[in-house]
Amino acid sequence: MLIRVDPASDVPIFAQVAASVRADAAAGRLRPGDRLPSAREVASSLEVNLHTVLRAYQELRDEGLVDMRRGRGAVVTDAVEPLAQLHDDVIALAQRARALGLSPDTLASLVKETFR
């Protein structure tokens, strides 16, 4: 799995870490039962604080995407399946929005508004 963070971005680091995991799940690169790399490993590789990574993992747990188990770390749950199924639709939608000149934020709020 690929985790990318950009310290220059306005988005908090922990949210970027969580978003990377979500994107991996959506792309079908994460399967139920897969283990996320240990928070310590990710923190040292990305040169970020351990608690930042833990906070990201906690957010993913609150969304139900991973299970946190003592001694086993963060394990991906069945909840990634719907994400993976939406993958193609999301890519198509994002491409269409880009072609129309919409910003990612506009698209996100549009989707949120429609979903409500």
Binding site: L2, I3, R4, D6, A8, R29, S45
Partner: protein, 340 residues
């Protein structure tokens, strides 16, 4: 992949060198022994101690039987190892080597067994059998010669790996200048390979117990070997592959062995397809006959990294394209930081 005419030729030649020739040699050995059977003692020496005298005996008729089973069995095992996995058209130097080894091993066994059997003709008591050193030495020499002959009797056909031409280049991942990225993935040995390795170790353990029961002093050496193999096997079943600012790190699930290639050593990274038996002669931490160093756990997708000094490192892992793309991006950024 369909087999090319080259591979058909190589397979046919293997059949001659690694199957037919060993069976003919075994048949000659067995016929000679059957002819000599009336002339040897009813019980013959079949094992010799370190100081040269015979210390193991068996009924004479068992020796030709044992030779026949061993010769046919060896040819069958080697053929299964080579001809079954290569059905889909893969061929490499490992197959050629296995053919040569099959011929050499059979020659060694046939010469040593036939000679040590034949030299007991006319003896009243097998305890008077002469030493086995000469038959063994001649057997080894004949086996080596046969192996070399077997190697050159086969064509040099390589259909995958080896040439390095099968690497697919990847486009570097787009990174913003300050962006930090890590790619991590676990890679596990294929179930079939794990089963085969575990079965081999269990067989060795059973052999150890059998030796211990019969009171042979060699059992503790066998036990130590079995334990070492067990640890080595467990250490190579699961690896964690990581790509980050430090470069490429491949670490066993139990911590060792661990392999690391710093970003600065990496010339380029790409994706390749690995056929474990054809290119590396099996599974685990291996050196391919073409010199590539590999963590080969299953067939299929693999990350291949070439260093500046020409050495090549391969690790079989899914999603290798992402890993290669990230390595390319990180290496490029390191070389030209301003270009981002």
């Amino acid at each position: 992949m369909t087999a090319t005419p080259d591979v058909h030729t190589a397979r046919r030649r293997y059949l001659v060198v690694g199957v037919i020739a060993p069976i003919v040699i075994t048949a000659i050995a067995v016929v000679l022994m059957l002819v000599w059977l009336p002339e040897v003692p009813a019980t013959v020496a079949t094992h010799w101690s370190g100081d040269g005298g015979p210390d193991g005996f068996a009924p004479a008729w068992t020796v030709p039987l044992f030779t026949a089973v061993l010769g046919a069995g060896l040819a069958a095992i080697f053929a299964a190892m080579v001809l079954v996995p290569s059905r889909d058209g893969e061929w490499g130097p490992t197959h050629r080597l296995l053919g040569a080894v099959a011929l050499g091993a059979t020659t060694l066994l046939a010469v040593a067994l036939t000679w040590s059997f034949g030299m007991q003709r006319g003896l009243d008591d097998a305890h008077d059998a002469p030493g086995v050193l000469l038959p063994l030495a001649v057997g080894v020499a004949a086996g080596l010669l046969a192996s070399v002959a077997g190697w050159f009797a086969q064509p040099n056909v390589v259909t995958s790996g080896g040439s390095g031409a099968t690497i697919q280049a990847v486009e570097a991942l787009t990174l913003t200048p300050g962006e930090r990225v890590v790619w991590v993935r676990t890679t596990t040995m294929s179930a079939a390979a794990m089963l085969a390795i575990t079965a081999a170790i269990v067989a060795l353990a059973v052999g150890t117990i059998a030796l211990a029961v019969t009171g042979s002093p060699a059992w503790w050496a066998m036990l130590a070997t079995a334990l070492v193999l067990l640890v080595l096997a467990c250490a190579t079943f699961v690896f964690r592959v990581r790509v980050d600012r430090a470069g490429l790190t491949v670490r066993s699930a139990i911590g060792v062995p661990r392999f690391h290639i710093p970003l600065g050593d990496i010339a380029d990274a790409g994706v390749t397809t690995v056929r474990p038996t054809a290119e590396f002669g099996g599974w685990g931490v291996r050196v391919g006959l073409d010199g590539r160093f590999g963590i080969v756990l299953h067939s299929g997708e693999a990350l291949q990294v070439a260093r500046h000094d020409g050495r090549v490192f391969v690790v079989t892992v899914d999603d290798a394209a992402t890993a290669a793309a990230l390595l390319e991006a990180l290496t490029a950024r390191r070389v030209a930081p301003s270009a981002g």
